[in-house]
């Protein structure tokens, strides 16, 4: 019991409180408090259970929804793509057979799995949360240890409610100071990834801390933790505090009455102790950040929007240089071009990174009284049905459609283009999603990752634009306001 006396990090506390079994020379067997399931990474896992004659150990700690494949138009009709339909139908059949609760397309609780969990209050501090999806790191915003797993592990959790795992290393990402106006959680995390690289977080749980993080809303914290995987990290976490508790209180699955008090008492013991040490520390000055966009084909290839497309010949590291050359060729960009001069065809507002109500509000605020530029298509895809209904109750849908944007149903949509929402070859998007990989949003498509504010401003001008520049340029369009 050496660990009792020593100061510990948030991640270590959550880990140690979930050890079912620890034995020399073996990974720890960790208990899983919540297992989120969707249609793409689960069918082979359910087949495995069936083949072995096994059941789901804790259907009451398991929750399924349909998100990756689902259409965002005409959702009352059968899914047109027969292969997508088969996959969704397989999930329905598996959930019915194994007793797993499912929120299917058409349900008021359906949506992107990482939006659904938090809004139900089923994601809580100190929990272990897994899902066959790398953006499970989103749930770390609550001080949960949440990480993506593969299908074999999905099967393992279904059967045993545990996972054998070797402890992760810990990295503190400390962000001190005040974020300037128009600089969002998205800009912050893109800057962090550019700083530590797409492999810099490998093997680590990142703990985001410092005054700039403490001031973020829960939704902004989810945006930050969501993209931890883009730095290669297993998970991202933020210590639970009053912001976390306020968000959870009264949610359908949050504890109530004396249970609430017991829960808050435990949650309050979770933040990293003074004197605890991290395996690595990175410090970021929030006041020096500005709207950030990606220019390349991995999320680490980003720069302030006020700068220019980099010149690969100036990059010293040979692997990075050749990656930059390839990226610029794919993106059809010329070194030295101001990033704010890059034209786009498509703007995508949505995803588990930026598809929550606050994201829609800030974008609607910018689009209010303005119009999407000619020749630009803007898709607004709420992260869940609840987000969609909330937006409609606030009239945001009217702002979007009034500006010429398309108001869609909930799902992953163009973030990864498993449904019909895809870029055509050669098309270029400004996207609030999380990955700018080659072809991610559709074969031959080109993606610039941006914040919701930059997405909205870009929709208005048709080229990568910060909201501040929009205000300066407003002259003409302001007349419509």
């Amino acid at each position: 019991m050496v660990a009792e006396a020593e100061p510990r990090t948030l991640a270590e506390k959550v880990w140690e409180s979930h050890i079912v079994r620890r034995a020399e020379g073996e990974p720890d067997l960790l208990y899983i408090d919540l297992h989120l399931v969707h249609e793409v990474t689960s069918p082979q896992a359910f087949n495995g259970l069936r083949d072995a004659g096994r059941s789901v150990r804790r259907p009451d700690l398991t929750l399924a929804t349909e998100d990756h494949n689902v259409p965002t138009l005409q959702i009352d009709r059968p899914i047109a793509d027969p292969v997508s339909r088969t996959q969704v139908e397989a999930l329905r059949k598996n959930c019915a057979e194994f007793g797993v609760p499912l929120y299917p397309l058409g349900s008021d609780e359906q949506g992107i799995v990482h939006v659904v969990g938090p809004q139900l209050g089923v994601t809580q501090p100190g929990m272990t949360v897994v899902c066959g999806d790398s953006h499970t790191s989103t749930h770390g915003a609550f001080g949960a240890l949440a990480f993506g797993i593969g299908t074999s592990e999905v099967e393992h959790v279904l059967a045993t409610q545990t996972l054998p795992l070797k402890p992760f290393k810990t990295m503190a990402v400390t962000v001190e100071g005040e974020l300037p106006a128009d600089v969002t959680a998205k800009d912050l995390i893109l800057a962090v990834i550019a700083e530590i690289g797409t492999g810099g977080g490998q093997g680590y749980v990142l703990e985001y801390r410092g005054s700039a993080i403490e001031k973020l809303s829960m939704e902004a914290r989810m945006t930050v933790c969501n993209m931890s995987i883009e730095a290669g990290a297993r998970a991202g976490m933020i210590a639970p505090d009053a912001t976390t508790f306020d968000y959870l209180k009264g949610r359908p699955k949050a504890p109530s009455g004396s249970d609430w008090d017991a829960a808050v008492a435990w949650w309050s013991s979770l933040p990293t102790d003074d004197g605890a040490t991290f395996d690595r520390e990175v410090v970021i000055d929030a006041s020096r950040l500005s709207p950030f966009v990606t220019w390349g084909t991995n999320p680490g290839q980003g720069l302030p929007l006020s700068s220019s497309v980099p010149d690969p010949t100036q990059i010293a590291d040979p692997a990075e240089r050749s990656a930059a050359e390839r990226a610029l060729e794919y993106m059809e960009l010329v070194p030295g071009t101001p990033l704010s001069a890059i034209d786009v065809d498509t703007v995508f507002l949505g995803s588990c990174t930026n598809g929550r109500i606050e994201d829609l509000r800030v974008a609607a605020e910018i689009l209010q009284g303005r119009h999407v530029a000619d020749g630009v298509r803007m898709l607004v895809v709420p992260g869940s049905v609840r987000v969609r209904l909330q937006a409609e109750s606030e009239g945001l849908d009217q702002v979007f459609t009034g500006a010429g944007a398309e108001w869609r149903h909930a799902g992953c949509s163009m973030c990864l283009g498993m449904n019909p929402d895809q870029l055509a070859p050669g098309e270029r998007s400004a996207s609030t999603s999380n990955r700018n990989f080659e072809g991610r949003q559709g074969k031959g498509g080109r993606t610039h990752l941006v914040s919701p504010q930059v997405a909205a401003a870009t929709a208005v001008t048709g080229r990568l634009t910060s909201p501040a520049d929009l205000a300066v340029r407003a002259g003409g369009s302001a007349a419509n306001a």
Binding site: D33, N47, L63, I149, A254, G439
Partner: protein, 197 residues
């Protein structure tokens, strides 16, 4: 899972870094509900280019994929491992793998080996000058042999044992059901449930 002890095969030299999971298998190929048939999706976008290394006849039948650093970044899709295996690869060598991809590879019996960039460079050079040259990856001795070199690699002892024995994790964990029962009985009653049973 099939046991892995040693494998000798020819090399596919993939001179790229940050080979992400969307390149290994794009999302539109993830819709199958079986563990096989994913070979069509492997590097689907890059394969459109007739010059892409996978399309070059001299590398046909290669079973050891050798790539640059940060292989497998991005998604948790185990389909990336299945696509490589379905196509015929048994081993992937890279200076560094993304965590989730690496974990998935061991679950499925695809051996992923981390070797320094200099060694990867020499294996690439060997394959490019002599596409018929074989590399031997021996999990028992934890060595990679090529040309006149024998290079040791590191692998967690537990992962190595599982691969050598071809063990199924679920089966191993189910031996400890008593420990899971005990843990569950001590969990706070207020912790959330997704459905009343």
């Amino acid at each position: 899972m099939e046991k892995f002890t040693t494998h000798s095969g020819r090399v596919l030299p993939l001179r790229r870094s940050n080979v992400d999971t969307d390149q290994i298998i794009p999302a539109v190929y993830l819709k199958r509900i079986t563990r096989d048939g994913f070979e069509d999706g492997l590097f689907a976008a890059w394969r459109k280019d007739p010059d892409f290394v996978l399309n070059r006849p001299q590398f046909e039948g290669a079973t050891v994929l050798v790539a640059g650093p940060e292989f497998g970044t991005g998604s948790s899709r185990e389909h990336a491992v299945w696509a490589l295996q379905n196509y015929g690869f048994r081993v992937v060598i890279s200076p560094r793998f993304a965590d989730i991809f690496r974990g998935n590879s061991f679950k499925g019996g695809l051996l992923t080996v981390e070797l320094p960039e200099g060694v990867v460079e020499r294996i690439w050079a060997l394959a490019e000058t002599d596409p018929g040259a074989e590399v031997t990856v021996d999990l028992r001795t934890r060595t990679v042999d090529f040309a006149d070199e024998s290079v040791a690699f590191e692998l967690d002892e537990y992962a190595r044992w599982r691969l050598l024995e071809g063990l199924d994790d679920v089966g191993l964990t189910l031996r400890h059901t008593d420990s899971v029962d005990a843990f569950e009985s001590a969990r706070p009653s207020w912790m959330p449930r997704t459905v009343a049973l």
